[in-house]
């Protein structure tokens, strides 16, 4: 059971990191939407505008794949991963 507890602790740690990044790019930055929009962002779009139509969305895609990879590593470390590939 100790192994399970350790595995869960690491899993929870990963959850908090992932949710922290999520919270920043889904809500945090928009606290400063007006100020940020004065800055020119990637491809020359106003920065806040760019985040709402490309930036945040792309970050979510990358974040989920990153999370899936990290979680797989944790599962493997404890021998909890499923056999066979997907």
């Amino acid at each position: 059971m100790a192994k399970n507890a350790q595995h869960w602790e690491k899993t929870r740690g990963l959850l908090f990191v992932t949710l922290a990044i999520w919270a920043v790019f889904s809500m945090g930055i928009f606290l400063f939407g007006a100020e940020m929009n004065e800055v020119t962002g990637p491809f020359g779009y106003p920065l806040t505008y760019w985040f709402t139509c490309q930036g945040s969305l792309a970050i979510f895609v990358i974040l989920i794949f990153w999370f899936a990879g990290r979680q797989e590593k944790i599962d493997e470390e404890f021998g909890f991963s499923e056999k066979g590939d997907d």
Binding site: L19, S26, N37, F51, V61, F65, F67, E72, D86
Partner: protein, 603 residues
């Protein structure tokens, strides 16, 4: 041509399908050059795609419960991603989203962030654990985790309220497109749409829906992206719009400054046909308070994680690992369309308001605009309107009105694209509405057939009988949805956003705490679902009947209130009652380990 296992051949099958569809578009383009009428092209597009979906639905027929409920748990990650994206992106995403951005700008774009960010919650908090549980439906998880029929039934009720709110809008959208393309009255077109929807799902259940949704995703993404790229090239805005429209966005800002946002008087606005709007908000400026933006995004994200028709897509993957990755693919495929919607809104707006472009109408004389072909067409369809409020004879920014749908539907025509593109867009909108309607109707029917009929009423029922019940329910729910859609009380029932708020009010915390808090028990979950749904609903009624609301929570974000009540009720009641049995706690432990057999063994 195709040998061996169907699953191994998926890339080949859908590769051929995509090639065939592109071939069909080219054929239609040639037909147009040779004098095929616009109406014939529309009928061909709608008829051909519906025929293909029905064929896939028939080929996927099954007599096995695991195929019917979870597609045999064999759907590979990438394909499940496409199916989820089609399941997710409704007629509203396809037809209305670009329009929303066009008219409301930044404030509306909270929806883009919310409807993608929610998948981070799905991937981290729920999907892998519910997949390990091995449930067939979302209420199946609630019923097994918390135990007892009351919790299961409550989950079915929340699911039905949320999904049914959503599905009438989708059937309505299917009917609208069928009515225009096939030129039949809306009241009949709704049922044509319904029959097409049922053809996909009735014989094969989740398996049929999965493979038609993949096919529908391919149609809808081609139908969305092709016009965006084409229009961008046509008006000289750049060959890859997503990276090249900064100048156009800046130009719109300048034009807005130059024209100014003139507020129309109430008397003038009364002459504008219902449902049409003018440009009153800046295109790329921040025009919402931080909380208005964040609360809407938050409500949509928590709602995303609570909507059963999305969650059940992740029950179909072969493994827990695959379920996680598949969420990533889903957002990727959704991203392809969502990141294009603002580009389409930009192109559409610039094409219409820039006096330097031949398509621009602001500053032209009223008579000249009224003589334009596309203006007459869309004016007749009640989607466009100009009026000379100030009597100076020319069209001003505040004197041009358009329906939200027109941004997607009419822009190809305005930018001078051939009619074949309009036919393609109709097929895409139909695919988007049908795929979502299919997922929703199946979610409701499966919950009632599996959780109410099989688990509560007749646990000894044979598989064959269960599947008959499931299919009968599918038809009944479909017809109920279509009947309400045909009554056209869309304004009240059609609000897609409400579905998110209902789902999050009732289901978000019972699902999340079911995985992440072992102490959560049956009494707590029931309290959470009942009080969450009731308080959310009460808040909605209160605000709609003139209540002022509090903390800036509006009728679009009432789920924030509902889910907070749900959380508090669930924690308090759980702590006041005894902790779950050792067997239940073991079940939660098992669900947290990907390896091993799934928690529920299904027959």
């Amino acid at each position: 041509m195709i040998k061996g296992n169907f699953i191994d051949n998926l890339p080949k099958v859908y590769g051929i399908y995509t090639g065939g569809f592109i071939g069909f578009i080219i054929l239609m383009a040639i037909g147009e050059q040779m004098g095929m009428s616009a109406k014939a092209i529309g009928i061909c597009f709608v008829g051909f795609t519906i025929f293909i979906y029905a064929l896939i639905g028939w080929l996927s027929r099954t007599a096995q419960a695991s195929n019917y409920y979870v597609a045999g748990r064999t759907v590979p990650t990438v394909f499940n991603g496409m199916a989820t994206a089609a399941d997710w992106m409704s007629g509203a995403s396809f037809v209305a989203m670009a329009g929303g951005i066009y008219f409301k700008g930044y404030g509306y774009m909270a929806l883009l962030v919310g409807w993608t960010g929610g998948y981070v919650l799905v991937a981290t908090l729920l999907a892998p654990y519910l997949r390990k549980f091995g449930c067939y439906t979302v209420p199946d998880f609630v019923g097994t985790r918390y135990g007892g029929n009351t919790a299961r039934l409550m989950a079915v009720i929340v699911l039905t309220v949320a999904s049914f709110t959503y599905v009438t809008a989708q059937i309505n959208a299917t009917g609208t497109i069928a009515a225009v393309a096939l030129d039949i009255p809306f009241q009949y077109a709704v049922y044509v749409g319904l029959v097409s929807i049922l053809l996909c799902s009735m014989l094969g259940g989740m398996r049929g829906v999965t493979w038609t949704q993949v096919a529908q995703y391919i149609v809808l993404i081609i139908a969305y992206l092709l016009p965006v790229f084409w229009i961008s090239n046509n008006i000289g805005a750049g060959f890859f719009p997503h990276f090249m429209l900064a100048d156009e966005v800046a130009r719109i800002g300048e034009l807005e400054q130059q024209f100014g946002f003139v507020k129309n008087s109430a008397a003038d606005l009364a002459t504008v046909p219902k449902g049409l709007a003018g440009i009153t908000k800046a295109h790329s400026e921040v025009n919402a308070t931080p909380w208005a933006f964040i609360s809407l995004a938050l409500a949509m994200m928590m709602g995303t994680a609570s909507l059963p028709h999305v969650m059940m897509r992740f029950f179909t993957t072969p493994s827990v690992k695959a379920a996680r990755k598949s969420v990533g693919w889903s957002v990727f495929f959704i991203f392809l369309l969502y990141s294009s919607a603002p580009m389409l809104a930009t192109l559409s707006k610039l094409a219409l308001i820039d006096p330097n472009l031949p398509t621009g109408i602001i500053g032209k004389s009223i008579a000249e605009v009224q003589a334009i072909d596309w203006y007459q067409n869309w004016n007749q369809a009640n989607l466009m309107f100009v009026s000379d409020f100030n009597g100076n004879g020319t069209v001003e920014l505040n004197e041009f009105f358009m329906g939200g749908k027109a941004v997607v539907l009419a822009t190809p025509e305005i930018a001078g694209l051939p009619y074949v593109i309009s036919g393609l867009v109709a097929a895409g909108g139909l695919a988007a509405a049908m795929s979502t309607a299919d997922g929703l109707i199946l979610a409701i029917a499966n919950a009632i057939s599996h959780d109410v009929y099989y688990k509560m009423v007749d646990p000894k029922a044979e598989t064959a009988k269960r599947l008959v019940v499931a299919r009968v329910l599918l038809v009944i729910i479909g017809f109920a949805g279509a009947t309400i859609a045909a009554m056209e009380i869309q304004g009240i029932l059609g609000s897609v956003i409400w579905a998110f708020d209902f789902a999050m009010s009732g289901l978000f915390w019972p699902l999340v705490l079911g995985v992440w808090w072992k102490r959560a028990n049956k009494e707590g979950a029931i309290a959470g679902m009942v009080l969450g749904l009731v308080s959310g609903f009460a808040y909605l009624v209160w605000v709609r009947s003139g209540g002022s609301g509090f903390l800036g929570i509006t009728q679009l974000t009432f789920g924030i209130f509902g889910s907070t009540v749900s959380l508090v009720a669930m924690v308090v009641v759980s702590l006041m009652t005894s902790e779950p049995s050792a067997a239940t706690q073991k079940m939660v432990d098992d669900s947290r380990v990907p390896a091993g057999t799934q928690v529920i063994s299904q027959k």
